[in-house]
Structures are given as structure tokens and as C-alpha cells.
Amino acid sequence: MSSLVKVEQKGPAAAVALPEESQYLTFLLGGDMFAIGILNIKEIIEYGHLTSVPMMPEFIRGVINLRGRVVPVVDLRSRFGKPSSEVTKRTCIVIIEVQVEGSADEDPVTQDIGVIVDSVSEVLEIAAQDIEPPPAFGAHIRTDFIRGMGKVNGEFVIILSVENVLSVEEMAMLEKAAEVVAA
């Protein structure tokens, strides 16, 4: 419940802060249209050569080699609690840079995380006034994952809150929970 309140407070504030980030990459996932601010996106690569990591929650599909660096890949569909979609020719991995809060004595660092999407569509300008606060329910995914609902040609796209969807702390915690259950 607390997260719900937090998001409701965040909604208008985010709408005010949005002008600086008005371009979004839109992509399809299980038939729904989603968007991510392009400032967080580093690159988009073809799906392939994924090495799965055992003993991790299902939504962490594995790791890939990104020019010598090992980057974890998250399956957005299973992160949203839905069955993952089939890999097709159009399946892509979007590499997103997220902030990882270090412990007290460390500086925050950035980490690259790949997310699997069914297909990428285009980069869109969405003006701040065209962005509505997220609905309290009905979007079928956790409300704190949604930053806002953008209106594009009379249809809504779900603008994702990258910090929450790809929260390293939360995902690492989930993995611990899995371990505790297994033990």
C-alpha cells in the first residue's frame, strides 16, 4: 500500500520533470506497447548467445557477452509476472544503464542490464502534457513499475519506471528469498 501512495505522489512531480526527457523508445511486449526514456538506453542488440545462470529467479534469463563485458539479461515479461513470450526473429535485447546504490561507504555505480523485448518499434516524442499519472489498477503490472501513461495517436503507451523495474537491490533480494526457500 505504501508503494501505491508513493507513486501517486510521484506522478505529478514526474510530469513536471519530464520536459528534459521527452523522447522515448517504444517496444512491444506480449501485445502491449511500452516505452522507456531514451536517456537510459545504451544500445539495442539482436537476441542470442545467452548463458543461463542457475539458481536465479526465472526473470533473470542469464548473461551475455557485450564486447568483453558480462551483462545480465532480464526477461521483462516474467518480471511482470507473466509467461515469457517465445523468441522470434524480431526479439531484441535492449541494454539499459541503471544506477546501483552502493552501500554506505561506496559511491553509486552504474550497471548495464539487458531486457528482452518482443520487438522494438520507434523513438517517439511524448510531450509532458500528454503523460497521465499511472492508473491505480488495471494495467496488469505493478503500479510502481509505471512512471506514466503516454498518449500517442489516441492510444496509451505504458512508460516504465526503469529504476523500479530494474532495481538491482530488489532483484538481488528476490534471489536471496529464492535461496532461503530452497534451503
Binding site: T51, P54, G62, E175, E179, A183
Partner: protein, 744 residues
């Protein structure tokens, strides 16, 4: 060298000198009275050099403090004061204060009132020693006015023996600055200013003869020469130290007061300059009178004639000349020569090591990591091509890459000795605080390990050593009752063992009380009552968070990190920690660490479609899984290996890999510490150089997978964390057995 760089060098050197000072101070109590002089000299030199260098940079705070310290040390050196335990502690505190001053300077911070108070207090404590013996009060630098040096050194005394002593009680210093002095960030003025703190500069004469025509003059070059007439009580080495930073590219000549004529001849010879000009310089600066100069020149001419008369084709060394002339005893020359050789040796030793920015080294290691991966890629292509010459070239390449990798990793290897030596101080302080008598024994200090590991091992080790002294070693009366020597012993040891480094902290104290730990664990609900645990597991309980059996909390082990943090730090280094203890007899804590964090030799295996890498130094052998175990249920996970029971785990099950198993399963037998275990895999793929890529924060809680690496094909393979897996296996079986016993 710019001023800023020179300053950085000063900071680095000061830290080293202070470290040396501390080491020597701690060594003092163990030395017999008559063997101390060398050590005391070294301590004095360290303080002195810091003072001298600080003076060059105008760091007055450091100069003032070290001056007082130096004065007391000087009295110790002269045998007027005895160095006792109190004084050692005082000097240690002073050393800390100097270190603090240097650090403040380094960070650009200003002195806090606390620091100032501390400094004043130390100065007051030092001054007690200075006023105790009034007849030998050391005059503050800059105001020295005693006619004779307070503590003439042996060499000075010798130098004044015999020969035609000149009637002169001032030092004579001639210096010709090298052209690059200014470019190197050194200002002759600041040197003179510093010299001024040691005595009184009676006269300075400047010589401009090296000055070129204005059109050729380079404003950044130094063309100056000076002759100084200097009145001071300082000894020659002290005066010389003022020129320490410019020594290399300058011609310097320092002649003590009352020098013999021969010395001036030497000075003239050494400078290889026009005799007359030097003579002129000497007269001008007031060192010599015209009459004396005539004597010197006459002496020299006589020498030269003697030379040609003997018809020696080799010019005789000046030293010999002087001896023959009956001015100096042969022993003195010998001593001088010996000193020269020693200095040369010290210099060549210095040149054998180079300071390198750690970052540059890291970049190199990273690049070599990439090279190793690329090399593996080339190998795969070569094998695929099937061309013999290509294969040959590729194998030569990979052999070389392997060598490069090893030597690059070696660059990062440092001896653990330095880290161990720091504990002399820790033991000294803690033992003093607790009123215990402790001896620290260090062995295996030359064991090498990765610098990153060394840096991170300091804190956990400190905690363990403090613990040993506080909780391990019993108070003297209990020790006596137990028939142990009153002095407790803590031992630090390091050695290599099957690809790991072992660091041991050992004490001869009371040992761990197994029953007490177990009782506490049961009380805390960590262990179910009635379960019989092996000793090693009981001891492991002390690493649990918030676990303490101590009846009283002391400020010694309460400080810093707890035992759970120690364990976490060690595990973060991919190491583990074991305890061996005998009640009443002592405890040994054994830390096992990997040698390096960057690249390892790996053994590649396949499970399902995924590749995994097992650190090669943990692999003992590979065998086929015995037939009867292939299709058994999950009941018995062990088989007989040449008569021994070997537990094994199927990676396929642990990693929940689906799909058909291969026709033949293999077992990789791994050893970790004293545990041996088998890992059942689908296929063995052989050795492989593995560059460890961290998996990142997302996977940091994952046990059983230690990292990842990139194969030659570009695919990512995961590196198995054997200790993690083995522990998991043990935990799992405990869990199952305890569940079974509950069911019963």
C-alpha cells in the same frame, strides 16, 4: 619534476620513513644496549630527513615538531639518554603525530585544535628529556652559537686530526648548481633559507662566470655558483642533507671548520675547475686568507711534481697521494672507500624497483585479460582450419600469452611481510592497554600474494590479532597457574597450499570453550539441542552475527569489525576461514585465500548446453561415474573411489538443467581445504585460461557461482565457486538428515 610532483614524492617518502621509524622503534626493546646504536641512528636519520625535506617545502609545522623530536633523539644517539619502554611509546606517539601532520598537508586540511593539543602535549613530554641534563641542552636550530660542535662525530674528529689545520671555524660550502635545477622545481634560495635554520650564513659570494651571452641565455636554466661561509653546530651529514634534492646535478663541496690544506686541494681537484678561480672563490668567501691560499697552491704544485717524478703512467688516486704525504692514516681512506662502495650498493638497490601507478598496472592486467580471451579465440579458429602451420603459430602465441599473463600477474604480487610487520605495533599497543606481555612471532613474511588481497586482508587480520590478545591469551596469573610462561605468544604465519595462500593467526592462550559456545548457540536458537556437531562447526559459530561468549566487553575487541564481518570480508575475497582450537592450549585461525583475483587456470566442463569452469587448482582428478551409480535414485550420493567414500553432487540436478544426460557422465573430483567431493558433469572439455569477469551486484548473493568468463567463441561461461557448492552440499545433507531425525 614540478613542485607538486616533488611534494608528492616527499609525502610518499615520509610515509616510508615513518614506517621504518616505527619498525625500528619496536625493535629497540629486543636489542641489547650495545647493539642499539645502528637502530637509533636509523631512527634519527628518518626524523632528520623528514625535517630536512619538510624545510625545503616550507612546511614549518612539520619542521618545528620534528626538530624537537630530533633533538631528543640526538641525545639518545649521543648516549646521554637511555631509550626505555616509556620513551619508545612516546616516540611512537610522536611518529603518529608526524604522520598525521604529513597527512593533513597531503589532504590540504588544516590542523584541528585536537591535533594541535596533541602536538603541544608531545612537545611538552619531549622537552622533559631536553631539560633534564642542562649542560647538554641542545640549542634550537638557527640560534646555534656555541663555538664548538656539541656532538662532534667521529669522522669530523678524524678530519681535524693532523695536517695543516687552517685557522677557520666556519664551514666552507661551495656549490655549483646544475643547469636543470630550476626546471626540477628546486630553488637555490629555499635551500639557503633552510640552511639558515641550521646556523648562520656568514657570507655568500655568487659567481656568474657560467652566465652565457644574453642572446643564448635560457631563463629557465640556472647558471649560478655560490660559495658560502657558514657558521653552524650541525654535523656534515646534516648540512649535506640540505642539498639532498639537488645533490645529483650539482657540484657540492662542504668543508668542515679547521680543515686541513689537503682538503682544500681535494675540493679544488674534485671541482675540476680552474685552480686560480677556486682559490679566488675561497679567498673571497673568507674561508682562506691569501697566505693560506698560497700554501694550498704550493702544496698542490708540489704534489703534481711528485706525480710526474714517480713517472707512474697511471695517475695515482688522490686518496693515495694524501696518504703518502702522511696527512691521513690509511684506515681513514679505507673507511671512506668502504662507505663509497656501500653508498653505491644502496643506490643500485634503489634503482631495482620502480614506483608505478597502481592504475597503470590494472589497465595492463585488464588488457592482458582481453589478450588471453582473444588468444583462446585464435586457438579455436586454428583448430577449425586444420592447418598445421597455423596451429603451430597459434600454440606458440598462446604459450607466450600465458607467460605474459604470469609475469603481469607477478607485478601485482607483493610480500605479505610488510602487512605482518604492521602488527608489531598493534600487538605492542594492545598488549600495553591490557597490561599483558605478548610476543609476536612472524613467519612466512616472504609469501607473495595479490596486492588487492593484501590491502583487504589488513582489517580482518587486525581484528583477529586483537581478539587473540584480548580473549585468547590469559592474564599472567592464570597463565602461571596453567604452567605457561608469563609472556603470551601470538604467531602470524603465511604459506602456499594447493593454489591458495594460507594465513594463520595462532596464539598459545586459553583456546575456545566448545561447551560454552554450544550452550550459547543453543540459547540463541542457532543450533537445536541434542545435535552432535563436529568441533570445527561449533567453532564456526563464533562467526555468526552478534555472537559473543565474552563475559565482559572490552574496548579492544569491541572496536572495529566483528567476527561476522571478518568472515564476510574473507568470503568476499573468495576465501574461507577455519578454526582449530585446543581448550587451555591455544587457538589457530586459518584463513585460506586465492592467490589472485584476476585470472585463473580453469577446467572447462559441460552440463546440458552450458559451459562451466572449475578453478584448476581445486581439481584433483576426473573419473567416469561408476555404472551402478548412473541410474540410481537420489538416495545415496556417494561412491567408492579406490576404497574411499567420495560424496558427489550432480550439477544437472543442482542447477535444474533439463534435457537428456549424455551417454557417459564424468565426475570431477575437487578438493577444498580438507573436503573432497565429486561433481557429476556431462562432458569434460579440458584446461582453459580463465579471465574472471565479475557478475555484478545482481548476482552477489548467489552461492555456488563465483564469477564468469568469456570463452574463445564469445560465449559466457560461469565459474563454479567450489567452496560455496561444497558448503551448500553439506548444508543440504545436514538439512535432510536433521529433517529425517525430526520425523523419527
Amino acid at each position: 619534476m614540478s613542485m607538486e610532483e616533488a611534494l608528492q614524492t616527499f609525502f610518499a617518502e615520509s610515509h616510508e620513513l615513518l614506517q621504518e621509524m616505527e619498525d625500528r622503534l619496536l625493535a629497540i626493546p629486543a636489542l641489547a644496549e650495545e647493539d642499539r646504536s645502528e637502530t637509533i641512528n636509523a631512527i634519527f636519520r628518518a626524523a632528520h630527513t623528514i625535517k630536512g625535506s619538510a624545510g625545503l617545502f616550507g612546511l614549518d609545522g612539520i619542521v618545528e615538531f620534528t626538530h624537537v623530536l630530533e633533538s631528543v633523539l640526538d641525545k639518545v644517539r649521543a648516549g646521554q639518554l637511555m631509550m626505555d619502554a616509556d620513551m619508545v611509546s612516546l616516540f611512537l606517539d610522536c611518529k603518529d603525530h608526524v604522520a598525521r601532520l604529513v597527512e593533513l598537508q597531503e589532504s590540504g586540511a588544516t590542523l584541528s585544535t585536537d591535533d594541535q593539543g596533541k602536538g603541544n602535549e608531545l612537545v611538552a613530554r619531549l622537552s622533559v628529556y631536553l631539560t633534564d641534563t642542562p649542560q647538554a641542552a641542545v640549542a634550537p636550530a638557527g640560534e646555534a652559537s656555541h663555538p664548538a660542535p656539541a656532538h662532534p662525530t667521529d669522522s669530523l674528529a678524524l678530519e681535524s686530526l693532523g695536517g695543516n689545520v687552517l685557522d677557520n671555524d666556519n664551514w666552507h660550502i661551495s656549490i655549483e648548481f646544475g643547469t636543470d635545477v630550476l626546471r626540477n622545481g628546486m630553488d637555490p634560495l629555499s635551500i639557503f633559507r633552510y640552511l639558515g635554520t641550521m646556523g648562520h650564513i656568514v657570507r655568500v659570494v655568487s659567481f656568474f662566470d657560467r652566465l652565457p651571452a644574453l642572446s643564448e641565455l635560457d631563463p629557465e636554466s640556472c647558471y649560478m655558483s655560490y660559495v658560502l661561509n657558514f657558521h653552524s653546530e650541525a654535523d656534515k651529514a646534516t648540512i649535506e642533507s640540505a642539498f639532498e634534492f639537488v645533490q645529483e646535478d650539482c657540484k657540492i663541496n662542504i668543508l668542515p671548520p679547521h680543515s686541513r690544506v689537503a682538503d682544500f686541494v681535494e675540493a679544488i681537484k674534485n671541482l675540476k675547475q680552474d685552480d686560480l678561480r677556486i682559490g679566488e672563490m675561497l679567498v673571497k668567501s673568507g674561508t682562506l686568507t691569501q697566505r693560506e691560499l698560497d700554501a694550498v697552491l704550493a702544496y698542490q704544485t708540489a704534489q703534481e711534481q711528485g706525480d710526474s717524478a714517480s713517472q707512474d703512467p697511471h695517475k695515482r688516486p688522490l686518496g693515495e697521494m694524501v696518504v703518502q704525504a702522511g696527512i691521513v692514516q690509511p684506515e681513514v681512506v679505507e673507511a671512506a672507500l668502504h662507505k663509497q662502495i656501500q653508498q653505491k650498493k644502496a643506490k643500485s638497490r634503489q634503482q631495482q624497483s620502480i614506483r608505478v601507478d597502481a592504475e597503470k598496472l590494472d589497465t595492463l592486467i585488464n588488457l592482458i585479460g582481453e589478450l588471453v580471451i582473444a588468444g583462446a579465440g585464435v586457438n579455436i579458429v586454428a583448430h577449425r582450419s586444420g592447418q598445421t602451420d597455423m596451429l603451430e603459430a597459434a600454440s606458440t602465441l598462446s604459450r607466450l600469452v600465458e607467460e605474459v599473463r604470469d609475469s603481469a600477474l607477478n607485478l601485482r604480487m607483493v610480500q605479505i611481510g610488510e602487512t605482518f610487520n604492521r602488527f608489531q605495533r598493534v600487538v605492542h599497543d594492545v598488549a600495553k592497554d591490557l597490561g599483558k606481555e605478548i610476543e609476536l612471532e612472524i613467519t612466512g613474511g616472504d609469501t607473495e600474494l595479490d596486492k588487492t588481497v593484501v590491502e583487504k586482508i589488513g582489517d580482518p587480520l587486525t581484528h583477529l590479532v586483537r581478539n587473540s590478545i584480548d580473549h585468547g591469551i590469559e592474564p599472567a596469573d592464570i597463565r602461571a597457574a596453567r604452567g605457561k610462561p608469563a609472556q603470551g605468544k601470538v604467531r602470524l604465519n603465511a604459506y602456499h597450499d594447493s593454489g591458495s595462500i594460507i594465513i594463520e593467526v595462532q596464539d598459545d592462550g586459553g583456546g575456545l570453550n566448545r561447551d560454552k559456545i554450544l550452550a550459547k548457540a543453543i540459547e540463541k536458537g542457532l543450533v537445536e539441542p541434542g545435535i552432535d556437531l563436529p568441533d570445527s562447526e561449533v567453532y564456526q559459530l563464533i562467526f555468526e552475527a552478534g555472537f559473543s561468549t565474552a563475559d565482559k566487553v572490552s574496548n579492544i575487541s569491541g572496536r572495529g569489525v566483528g567476527m561476522d564481518v571478518v568472515r564476510r570480508n574473507i568470503e568476499a575475497l573468495r576465501g574461507n576461514i577455519e578454526i582449530d582450537s585446543q581448550y587451555m592450549a591455544g587457538t589457530t585461525i586459518r584463513i585460506r585465500l586465492p592467490l589472485t583475483l584476476a585470472i585463473i587456470d580453469g577446467f572447462q566442463v559441460k552440463v546440458g548446453n552450458a559451459h562451466y569452469v572449475i578453478p584448476l587448482d581445486m581439481v584433483i582428478e576426473c573419473v567416469d561415474l561408476p555404472e551402478e551409480n548412473i541410474n540410481d535414485g537420489h538416495d545415496s550420493n556417494y561412491f567408492s573411489l579406490r576404497g574411499e567414500v567420495l560424496p558427489y553432487m550432480r550439477l544437472r540436478e543442482s542447477f535444474e538443467v533439463t534435457g537428456e544426460t549424455g551417454k557417459r557422465e564424468s565426475v570431477v573430483i575437487v578438493k577444498y581445504g580438507n573436503t573432497r567431493a565429486g561433481l557429476v558433469v556431462d562432458a569434460l572439455l579440458g584446461e582453459f585460461q580463465t579471465v574472471i569477469k565479475p557478475l555484478g551486484k545482481l548476482f552477489e548473493r548467489l552461492r555456488g557461482i563465483g564469477g564468469s568468463t568469456i570463452l574463445g567463441t564469445g560465449e559466457v561461461a560461469l565459474i563454479l565457486d567450489i567452496p560455496g557448492l561444497v558448503q551448500q552440499m553439506i548444508r543440504k545433507s545436514h538439512h535432510e538428515t536433521s529433517r529425517a531425525s525430526v520425523k523419527e
